[in-house]
Amino acid sequence: MSGAPVAPHPGSAQKSPTTPAETIFEARGVNLRFGGVHALTDVSFGIRKGELFSIIGPNGAGKTSMVNCISGRYRPTDGKVFFKGRDVTGTTPNHRAALGIGRTFQNLALFGHMSVLDNIMVGRHHLLKNNFLTGPLYWLTGARKEELAHRREVEEIIDFLEIQHVRKATAGTLSYGLRKRVELARAIALKPDLILLDEPMAGMNLEEKEDMARYIVDLNEEFGMTVVMIEHDMGVVMDISHRVMVLEFGKKIAEGKPEEVLADPRVRRAYLGEDDVEDDVPSASSPPARKEVA
């Protein structure tokens, strides 16, 4: 179901103009309603290829819903979403995975009874060729060769995320933090061009957040994946993201460079809850994460 390619100058509503060349994903006037609940109202934005794009906003603002619209879990009530210039509004999640969108989940969604290894191998699904006919004839059809080849790549991902020690463990029995890491590994295994991370650092202590941040940065810089990240830890968001979009009550209230966005009083009020400017106002550059101390 291929749609018309993106018009040269999409979303004139957009502040930061994007040319199709560099826009990998674009949402145009996305609305999402659940009965009375307006999860998203007329949200438009574009994500440039190779950028690290963060979505922040108060709880229930519609961040996850937005990501769901990108990955195809939800279909916008109206509005369109474009991926690599194609209108993918109507396509199913599994189709989008094949197109190159991978993601992790806010509430863990691992395959609890599978080993970590298999969990990640599932990520290779759309890259593997063998099927229910060739698979069973393991040795005769080259399924074995293929499986092993992919296994090798998976092992690289495992090394990259430093989860060798739980390779064989049953995913369901891992601790929260480890599970989040395995989820990331599984998403990476898809070899996506666009990877969506829903609160990848929730439930991690500083040390682990640092690791996670490092992985994400590497994903973005080394592996050249475009990353969309939802995160509540402003420290991380400010430090590593190129651009930030802020949602509130399903509406986009700001978008732009981290420090710009942070400067926006609405954001500070709605999100950080720093209603009135205190005596030690942080310069936009210094991360407010530390301000929570105050």
């Binding site: 996850t64 769901n68 879990r73 989940f105 806010q106 509430n107 969604a109």
Partner: protein
């Protein structure tokens, strides 16, 4: 007054009976997500107990029947304590398998205790049959219809509003969470099994009165599956509605079959075709709550 109309009436009346049995399924399911394959045997046990009280002890029905209900309550609790308690927290399907084991045990035990021959129920109503819209039907059917509506109303309220009702639903949703809230999973299970056993006794006695008591009655257990599903596994009202629908379906199917098609056996099979058709449109039955798809 036409044959079709008579069949419709009959369908409704018998459907109500299916409704009762269906409810006894729902009760257990709502508290534990377990489908009880021994339900048919529960029904049988209820029937035999009442029969025994009425024949061996010559008790009048209005005494014997309440005693039966009390006995079934106790039976439900004991069963839960002895057999099902150890299974708490185990995979649902294993528990379902246990209920299958139970049905084997009870089936044999009943035959052992009461023999393999069908036994007639003593006359309990002054008039064994009565006239409904010009159709002669067994009085006991009509009575059970009334009872079933009562039970339905009762449980409808119970699960929506009462504290225990909520607790049962919580237990069904996630035993660990339920316990973390201070809900005694054991209590909930014991309760639901007891009530369910009692309800199935009502049905057991009814079918017993009509067909005579024999171990074959336990077949009603499986027979009502379509009704349960049609209404929605976890809906008390659905159970009764499902029962009525299946009852009517059977009769209408039989009507078409006997009048025109002459394929034979539509009576038994048609409900299943309709069942699938309805499920394809409403995957959770008519009143079942759909589970949450949220990531």
């Amino acid at each position: 007054m036409t044959l079709l109309f008579q069949l419709l009436v009959n369908g409704l009346i018998v459907g109500a009976l299916y409704g009762v049995v269906a409810m006894s399924f729902v009760l257990i399911y709502k508290a534990s997500r377990i489908v009880n394959f021994a339900q048919g045997e529960f029904l049988l046990i209820g029937a035999w107990t009442c029969w025994w009280l009425l024949t061996s002890w010559q008790l009048p029905f209005w005494i014997g029947f309440p005693i039966t209900l009390v006995f079934m309550l106790a039976f439900g609790v004991i069963l839960q304590v002895v057999v099902l308690r150890p299974m708490i927290g185990e995979p649902i399907i294993s528990v379902i398998m246990v209920t299958i084991g139970l049905s084997i045990v009870f089936q044999a035990a009943m035959k052992w205790m009461f023999g393999v021959f069908a036994k007639p129920f003593p006359q309990i109503f002054a008039h064994a049959t009565m006239n409904v819209f010009g159709l002669q039907v067994q009085t006991v059917y009509v009575v059970s219809l009334a009872i079933s509506l009562l039970i339905m109303a009762g449980f409808g309220w119970f699960f929506k509003y009462s504290r225990l009702g909520l607790a049962m639903r919580a237990t069904a949703f996630d035993q660990q969470v339920a316990q973390s809230l201070g809900i005694s999973v054991r209590q909930m299970f014991a309760m639901s099994w007891a009530i369910s056993a009692m309800v199935s006794a009502v049905a057991g006695v009814t079918v017993g009165v009509v067909n005579g008591v024999s171990s074959a009655l336990s077949f009603f257990g499986i027979k009502v599956f379509p009704a349960v599903i049609l209404g929605g596994l976890d809906s008390v009202i659905g159970a009764v509605v499902g029962g009525l629908i299946v009852g009517v379906l059977e009769n209408v199917a039989h009507y078409l079959d006997s009048q025109w098609l002459n394929w034979g056996n539509m009576y038994e099979i048609a409900p299943f075709y309709v069942l699938i058709a309805i499920l394809m449109i409403k995957p959770y039955g008519l009143f079942g709550t759909k589970d949450i798809e949220r990531v």
